[in-house]
């Protein structure tokens, strides 16, 4: 059970709705993932044809909506995007993301912290996408964020848990849930993150761009559950040298 801002979620796998070939595949994949916290974005529209069916499908699935502030380049824009999202969804949950650089989509730490402070005061449950910087994560926690969401690798890169040593430090220090967001490319990446003790992972591209997104969503769900179970079971210590599992008595020589 994942607990965020005094709300309980049954799944530790958060999913995004972007990049799917069709809205029905997206719906089936989220169902297969078992996610109950699902991201979506906001966009300007001019004509009715520019709307999509994402919201309709998500409402039928009964998931909690986690709108993001994607497209915001400053704290001010992110706060405005969050308020628009609240108006559109009625949801106090907001995935705060501010990435001015279009090539690597890396989050701006200064603007993110500024926006987090404002949004928390306005009553949002803020989930900030941030670099895997333990000091920044502490500052975001102090600002009142409901969780921290350090990246594993750039958004949509499927490069996996490149920031593992820093995620370990963040997990050790955090008093709020840690959710690894961005970069997770394989179920084994998700499992590795869960084994480290992160509370949840957020996956979108790796599921949406798989040959069979629904089957991949199931694979991620299994990996997240297994990784969590392993963490709770307590992993054995690792050593550089061998440690025999059988008696080393030289019985043949008596």
């Amino acid at each position: 059970m994942l607990r965020l801002a005094n709300h309980h979620f049954s799944s530790r796998l958060l999913t995004g709705t972007g990049k799917f070939n069709s809205a029905t595949t997206m719906r089936d994949a989220i169902h297969a993932a078992g996610s109950d916290l699902v991201t979506l974005a906001m966009k300007r529209v001019i004509t009715a044809t520019q709307s999509d069916d994402t919201l309709t499908h998500l409402k039928k699935l009964g998931v909690t909506l986690l709108p993001n502030t994607s497209g915001a380049k400053t704290a001010e824009e992110a706060v405005f995007a969050a308020e628009l999202a609240f108006e559109a969804t009625g949801s106090q949950w907001i995935k705060l993301e501010i990435h001015p650089d279009q090539r690597y989509l890396l989050p701006d730490p200064i603007e993110t912290l500024k926006a987090a402070e404002i949004l928390v005061k306005k009553g949002f449950y803020v989930l900030p996408y941030c670099g895997a910087d333990p000091v920044l994560c502490k500052r975001l926690e102090e600002a009142g964020c409901a969780a921290v969401m350090p990246l594993g690798a750039p958004i949509g890169s499927n490069k996996g848990l490149q920031t593992k040593p820093f995620i370990r430090i963040i997990v050790e220090q955090a008093n709020v849930p840690v959710i690894v967001d961005a970069g997770i490319g394989r179920p084994s990446d998700a499992m590795a993150a869960m084994e480290l003790g992160v509370d949840a992972v957020l996956v979108n591209t790796a599921i949406a761009t798989a040959r069979n997104p629904v089957a991949m969503a199931e694979a991620f769900a299994c990996a997240v559950k297994t990784g969590r179970k392993a963490f709770e079971a307590g992993l054995g210590k690792s050593h550089y040298i061998g440690a025999a599992t059988s008696p080393l008595t030289s019985f043949l020589e008596s």
Binding site: L40, A41, M42, A48, P67, A85, A88, T205
Partner: protein, 83 residues
């Protein structure tokens, strides 16, 4: 893009044409018109939609009370797929 038609204007020739900036694009409408009427006229879905009127967000219950004036800026946003 002009959303008025000649027949429409001749029937309602007492109404005034106003220019609005909708999502950055200049459009002509017949006044009086409210925010709600604009949304319905352009057949935009209301669910999952948020509107900024001259850079301030207007809650849905206020759409029908918001009367648009020449030069007003309206930005319409909707929820879409995203990660």
């Amino acid at each position: 893009m002009n959303h008025t038609s000649d027949s429409h204007i001749s029937i309602e020739n007492s109404r005034q044409r106003i220019e609005l900036v909708v999502n950055g694009e200049n459009k002509t409408y017949l006044s009086p018109i409210t925010l709600l009427e604009l949304v319905m006229r352009d057949a935009l879905r209301q669910e999952g939609t948020a509107i900024a009127y001259n850079q301030s967000i207007v809650s849905r219950c206020q759409w029908s009370n918001t009367h648009l004036k020449d030069g007003d800026q309206i930005d319409i946003f909707t929820l879409v797929a995203g990660g």
